[in-house]
Symmetry: C2
Subunit: 133 residues, 2 copies
C-alpha cells in the first residue's frame, strides 16, 4: 500500500502522513524503489491519529495516546486523564469565546453600519468609550 492509497483509505493528506513519519508517529517500510509501503497496522495507526486529531488532541497528546493504545498493560486512568484535561481546555476555550461573542455582538448591534464615519466599534477599540461589561 503506497502513500496515495492509504491517504485515500484513511482520509488524511499524503503530506500529513509524511509529516507524521517525520515526527516519528509511524514508521512505514520502504519498497525497493524507495516508496513508502504501509501495512495494515500502519493504516490503523494513521486512522487512530486522524480520529484523535479530529477530536482536537495535540500531536503530543496523540503520541501519548498511541503509546497507551499499544501498551496492553496500560491503566485506563492514564487515558482518561489526558482526555479530561483536553476537555477542560476546550471548556475553557468555549467560555472565553462566549465572552468575546457577547462583547462583539453588542458592538456590532450598536454600530449602525452605514456610510457615516461615527462608529461605536472604533470608539470601543480606541478606548474613548465605556466598554460593554
Amino acid at each position: 500500500m503506497n502513500i496515495g492509497e492509504v491517504s485515500r483509505a484513511i482520509g488524511l493528506p499524503a503530506k500529513t502522513i509524511r509529516y507524521y513519519e517525520d515526527i516519528g508517529l509511524v514508521q512505514p517500510a520502504r519498497g525497493a524503489n524507495g516508496y513508502r509501503d504501509f501495512n495494515e497496522q500502519d493504516a490503523h495507526k494513521l486512522a487512530f491519529l486522524g480520529r484523535s486529531r479530529s477530536l482536537g488532541f495535540s500531536i503530543d497528546d496523540c503520541r501519548t495516546l498511541l503509546s497507551l493504545y499499544e501498551d496492553r498493560g496500560r491503566a485506563s486512568a492514564d487515558v482518561k486523564a489526558i482526555a479530561a484535561e483536553h476537555l477542560q481546555r476546550i471548556t475553557l476555550k468555549i467560555d472565553e469565546l462566549k465572552e468575546l461573542k457577547i462583547t462583539l455582538e453588542e458592538l456590532v448591534t450598536r454600530c449602525h453600519g452605514d456610510d457615516r464615519p461615527d462608529c461605536p466599534i472604533l470608539n470601543d477599540l480606541s478606548g474613548h468609550e465605556a466598554r460593554p461589561s
Copy 2:
C-alpha cells in the same frame, strides 16, 4: 517614552511592540541613542491594537481597523462588516467546540479511569466501537 514605559503603560510586552513595528503597525521615532521614542499617538495606536487583539481580531483585521480608525471619512459599514465577519467565525468556532465537548464528555464519562487497561476512549479512537452521535 521608551519601550519599557509604553509597555507598562499599555500592558503589551516589549517583544510584541517591536513585532508590531516590524510589520509596520506603528512607526515610533528614534532617539539619538537608537532607542525607540514613542509619543502619545503611538501609545494610543498600541492601545487600540491591544484592545483589538484581545477581542480576537487577526493582525490583518487590526491593520484594516486601524486604518479605518485613522480615516476621518470612513463608513461605519466597513467597520461593522469586519466585526460581523469576525463574530461569525467565533460563533462557528464555538459550535465546533461544543460538538467536540459533547463527544469528549461522553467518552470521559464512559471511561472508568482505573488501573485496568479496558478503555472506551481508546476503543473509540481506534475505531473499534460505535462512535458517540
